[in-house]
């Protein structure tokens, strides 16, 4: 008598659990996984609007002959390879300085360095665009100091446009990553640092021998997140340089947007390019996790 009753109770318990998680899980299924599969199917079709017909791998072969797309891949990797390491190292150094117990005004410094995260992406992109404009403050300052003879068109020269994007990204995201490291450092016993100090370890030694190894999981996480974010850069490319000059600073997401919603919509081709990003994200995350594991 008691056995069947117990079973129905645990069954009820089980079903209640599913009921709790169903709305959230179904929404992710419908809003993430199904669209992803539909994008994959779409990437093998071509046409305008609803008139789509199969085209095999044409979209994928076209992608590798499309100069603007290849440029956007190069640009995105340029941002990734230069900006992400600088930002993470800088954030790590700042966090380990701010973790010092004897430091005064710690909270104030933390708030100020964290402050850029309070601005929206569009807002900071426009602030930096204004600062680096031909008649902007940076040019004014450089001319006054005699570094430049006349204003330099930072945003309409390819190399400097990319550098401005990197500077802006560093400004916006360094404090964000620093917060991760600060919270990670709180889990490390402070006595380890004090012991190292007594043993005569220098700040640099402490940093490389204690801070970096113990923060490894957090560093791995921030590296994966930053890589993921950089591969999807959009707001900055649109609002800082508008992809210019002549698409030489455009990012992949920006180009996909233009292809889908600005020019004659070509959803099939856009879907193929977006799938390329998906594969890149997956490969890079996999590689980073491999590297992260090895150093154990």
């Amino acid at each position: 008598m008691s056995k069947p009753k117990k079973m129905t109770l645990s069954r009820k318990h089980n079903l209640t659990g599913w009921a709790f998680l169903a709305p959230g899980a179904l929404l992710i299924l419908v809003m993430s996984f199904i669209p992803m599969i539909r994008a994959l199917l779409l990437s093998f079709q071509t046409g305008v609007g609803a008139n789509m017909k199969p085209c095999g791998i044409l979209n994928y072969t076209r992608m590798f002959q499309d100069k603007v797309f290849l440029q956007s891949v190069k640009n995105t990797f340029f941002y990734l390879i230069i900006q992400v390491p600088i930002m993470l190292i800088f954030a790590l150094i700042l966090a380990s300085i701010l973790n010092n117990k004897d430091l005064k005004f710690k909270g104030l410094f933390r708030t100020m360095i964290f402050l850029p995260c309070a601005t929206s992406l569009v807002a900071y992109a426009i602030i930096f665009r204004s600062l680096f404009a031909n008649n902007g403050l940076v040019n004014l300052l450089f001319v006054k100091l005699g570094i430049l003879d006349q204003p330099y068109a930072f945003l309409t020269n390819t190399f400097s446009a990319r550098i401005v994007i990197i500077i802006a990204l560093l400004w916006r995201w360094t404090g964000y990553n620093m917060v991760f490291y600060l919270s990670g450092l709180q889990n490390i016993e402070y006595s380890i640092y004090e012991a190292a100090k007594i043993d005569g370890a220098s700040a640099v030694q402490t940093f490389f021998r204690i801070t970096v190894p113990l923060l490894k999981p957090t560093i791995l996480l921030t590296a994966i997140m930053s890589t993921n974010g950089t591969l999807q850069l959009f707001d900055e490319s649109v609002n800082l340089t508008n992809g210019g000059p002549a698409n030489t600073s455009i990012t992949m997401s920006h180009y996909i947007y233009d292809m889908s919603f600005k020019y004659v919509p070509n959803f099939g081709y856009s879907a193929a390019m977006s799938f390329f990003i998906l594969i890149l994200v997956a490969i890079l995350a996999f590689l980073q996790m491999k590297v992260g594991d090895k150093r154990d």
């Binding site: 659990g17 601005t119 569009v122």
Partner: protein, 268 residues
């Protein structure tokens, strides 16, 4: 030597802090100055605020955009918190093999870049007639793996004895959630709220795709519109940027710790 080192450390922190704060200070100062004064390099707040405001209101319907953004972000935050906390709670409190498997699949969705789902999502939203609507805005991000994971982590610390006691008292499962879990997890909700609101307010790509009608445009979209055209009125532009930054800045200053916990939340 030690003193010199200490001095160097403080100097470094001061420089970094200055660089972090200066662009925002410049934004505030420019918003109160005439465009010509901004260009000539004036760095102190001026008296041109009202004129900039009038110019801005004459150019773009900032009030409507602000209201739209606020409405979208508030509804998204509210629904998202309920849906994700229910799911996180369900995954943890009733966990078994099947649910753990589903949770792992959901975590995979974290790696899916938004552009990879954007076009099918756009097709779906337009098919159902949800372009220019709040529901269209909230659907793709109302349930996120990040928030579900965060609530799942916090449910781990929800004491089992209390639940058992409540069950014996005859409280239904859903009432345990609303009357006991929600009030005890206030700090998790605060963290989740700040991060969700900030992300919703700042989102740009998705609204740009689905808000095709000017009357449903969001604040970031309107600010971005202002940069089109050949001559830029910096005073007016920076005022718009300032207005766009204000809500997130307020959230940041009032709930800084909750925000810091929100971005790192699911990690612990």
């Amino acid at each position: 030597m030690i003193k010199l080192k200490k001095f160097g450390m403080y100097l470094f922190l001061c420089i970094v802090s200055f660089i972090s704060v200066f662009p925002l200070y410049w934004m505030v100062s420019a918003a109160t100055n005439k465009s010509a004064e901004v260009i000539s390099g004036r760095l102190v707040p001026g008296t041109y605020f009202m004129e900039n405001l009038n110019n801005l209101l004459a150019t773009q319907n900032v009030g409507r955009a602000f209201g739209n953004s606020f409405k979208y972000a508030a509804i998204l935050t509210l629904v998202s918190l309920v849906v994700c906390s229910l799911a996180g709670y369900g995954f943890e409190i009733y966990h078994d093999r099947g649910k753990d498997l589903v949770m792992n699949i959901i975590l995979l969705a974290m790696m899916v870049p938004f552009v990879a789902t954007m076009i099918p999502l756009f097709q779906m939203v337009s098919k159902f007639g949800w372009l220019n609507t709040t529901i269209g805005f909230i659907l793709p991000t109302v349930s996120t793996p990040f928030l579900i994971m965060m609530f799942r982590q916090s449910a781990r610390s929800f004491p089992h004895d209390i639940m058992e006691a409540a069950r014996i008292d005859g409280l239904s499962e859903i009432r345990i959630f609303f009357q006991m879990f929600m009030p005890t997890m206030r700090s998790t909700y605060a963290a989740a709220m700040t991060i969700t609101f900030m992300n919703a307010w700042n989102s740009y790509l998705w609204p740009k795709v689905i808000m095709t009608d000017t009357t449903s445009q969001t604040m970031p979209m309107v600010v971005a519109n202002l940069t089109e055209g050949y001559v830029t009125d910096y005073g007016m532009l920076m005022l718009a940027v300032l207005i766009c930054t204000l809500p997130t800045a307020i959230v940041f200053f009032c709930l800084q710790n909750a925000f810091a916990e929100g971005i790192t939340g699911a990690v612990k």
